[in-house]
Amino acid sequence: MDYATLIGQATLNGLVIGAMYMLMAVGFTLTFGIMRVVNFAHGEFYMLGAFTAFFTYAYWEIPFVVCLLIAALTVGILGVLVEGALIQPFRDDETSGMIATLAISVIIQNAAVLIWGPAPRPMPDIVQGTLMLGPFSFPWSRLVVIAAAVLIFVTFWLFMQGTRTGRAMRAVAQDKETALIQGIRINAIYPLAFGMSVALAALAGALMGPVFSVSPFIGLTPMLKAFVVVILGGLGSVPGAVVGGILLGLIESFTATMFGSLVSDILQLLLVIMILLVRPSGLLGQREY
């Protein structure tokens, strides 16, 4: 395998994993941007999305696109309920809100272990086979993840930019008090934002389930990566989450391919620290005064 092939292969690998990080991070940063809540349970909603896709696709054999919709809807509605019941009471207290999300994370994960057991479950591929382009091997299952992630993000972006509710969400993110004065119902926006945020995590989980496997513990790594991505891209910045997600995926892929897994882990975090030293508010984040 020559260098050009290696670089091409590493780029595709990085885009796949970056697309997943992007979906996770966009949801994560949305919650923070609008609600000022760092949602430590974000990874568990990713896991719930993966399990929903597992049962609907692997057991009930529903078409995968419908499975994605079911995952987004069920987890999204669950998110709305969780926000109303467990996060809303801590709305003006960021620290207590964080602790609440940590508790939600533990509750969801342990409940999943009790209900579905701890063993990882393999999921059948959405599409099988590999696209061979000269020396490059592109598994179709991974290409589908990139395409689906882009489509989901574009839909989300259009919603945020082009709809009344999307604009209201952005207004709340920019200035809560002014948004209130303009007649925006914050009590409706918060649960909706949280539901959308965890629905994005669920979609990421549902997309990655067939590529890897599904177990109650799969949420931790994407959650940690999403955390790194939003810090890298700028906390609260959606474009930052996109750039950060793709960038982290590519960095991870290239460093692992060139230097191996252990060096890759070190290099990734070193690069993030270096970027933050130069731009403390993240790549596309706004400095807070």
Partner: protein
């Protein structure tokens, strides 16, 4: 007066005879990975303990020194982590008062808990492949599964010769187990005239191996070694290797993972995989055990399970011979004296004195199989030193 005493004694005797002899409880600990990537192994150990307990309890208990004991299984998850294994061991020994433990599972957890179990004279049955798990310093540590040290040389020699393998690539977990197995396997390939041209380590939580496999494949390998990886990880590695277009043979030198590999990667991707097969599934006793295990747990039986079941069979027999469950030293000595004992694996004995100065390694034959259509077909039978 005397008559009245006699009457009272008879009454007492009668009361004593009419009371059913209630069995005492003997707790059997399980210290294994019951969540995450090593779950298939953990369940195989827990299942062995529970099925062995069922055998005894269904017959009214284990009779030792004139007393009947019902076996109660107490299982804790070590998450394949040394610190968690130590916590679980402390609970087993100090809270539950257990002196017989099925486990620990991995090498790192084993090395963490063995000083504690040894000090408290608790008999353990480890799955750890590290050579340090058996030693004169750990007289209560037994190993029912056959480790890489024993089978890697003859098995790799046989497979490398048959496939004409010269350049091998491999990924190993970055812990005591993975590091240890990498050393043993690499030496075995060298001895067989092949070279491990690409060897990478990764953290056990990893599920995306594509970047690392791309790096390995760049070395133009003609075979890939899976040893040291948990069944689920082995399945993901096979799946991702084939997705990257690798069509060469894949070798699984140790640790049964066949069921998970086929389940995760699919039958087609699993073609041309040469696996270490620790059991002959067609043997009647083994077939019966497999059927029983799978009926109870609704998952494919991992082939390590019968080794633990056999070790527990040996231990129960040793307890009977020792006439005690309290004196683990006596039980240990009786267990070592059992050679040619008929178990689910057939006749087994003990070995290991030469390698580890501890004769507490279970000795049983093993096999090499190739996967065809998702099913393992035995192609060679091996003893301690050779395969044919």
């Amino acid at each position: 007066m005397i008559k009245r005493h006699k009457f009272a004694m008879l009454l007492c005797l009668g009361a004593g005879l009419s009371q059913p002899v209630s069995a005492e409880t003997l707790k059997l600990g399980v210290l294994a990975t019951l969540s995450g990537a090593g779950t298939a192994w953990g369940i195989s150990m827990q299942g062995a303990a529970e099925l062995a307990a069922e055998d005894v309890n269904s017959k009214g208990g284990l009779e030792v020194g004139g007393k009947k004991y019902n076996i109660e299984v107490v299982a804790y998850d070590d998450h394949y982590k040394a610190a968690d294994a130590l916590t679980a061991t402390n609970r087993l020994i100090f809270d539950d008062g257990i002196k017989y433990i099925v486990g620990p599972l991995g090498s790192a957890p084993s090395l963490a808990v063995l000083p504690v179990t040894t000090e408290n004279k608790a008999i353990t049955m480890t799955m750890a492949f590290t050579p340090k798990a058996l030693s004169p310093d750990f007289p209560f540590s037994f190993r029912p599964v056959i480790p890489t040290d024993i089978f890697s040389d003859p098995q790799i020699k046989w497979v490398a010769k048959r496939l004409g393998v010269k350049r091998v690539g491999a990924l190993f977990p970055n812990d005591e187990s993975g590091q240890q197995i990498a050393v043993v396997v690499e030496a075995a390939y060298e001895a067989a005239g092949a070279k491990m041209v690409s060897k990478e380590f990764f953290e056990r939580e990893r599920v995306d191996f594509v970047p690392l496999l791309t790096r390995v494949l760049a070395q133009n390998i003609d075979a890939f070694e899976l040893d040291g990886n948990s069944p689920q990880t082995a399945g993901l590695l096979v799946k991702q290797l084939r997705e990257l277009g690798f069509k060469g043979p894949i070798i699984r030198t140790g640790g049964d993972a066949t069921a998970d590999i086929v389940k995760i990667a699919g039958a087609e991707a699993s073609e041309r995989i040469y696996v270490h097969q620790s059991i002959d599934p067609s043997a009647p006793a083994m077939a019966a055990y497999t059927k029983r295990f799978e009926a109870k747990y609704k998952v494919p039986m991992n082939a390590f399970s019968p080794f633990f079941y056999a070790n527990i069979q040996l231990m129960f027999e040793a307890m009977k011979k020792a006439g005690t469950v309290a004196d683990t030293d006596k039980v240990r000595q009786q267990m070592l004296s059992l050679t040619g004992f008929e178990t689910v694996l057939g006749k087994v004995g003990w070995t290991g004195q030469e390698q580890w100065k501890s004769n507490q390694q279970l000795d049983a034959p093993y096999y090499i199989a190739v996967l065809k259509g998702g099913v393992a077909a035995i192609v060679a039978t091996c003893e301690r030193t050779r395969c044919e």
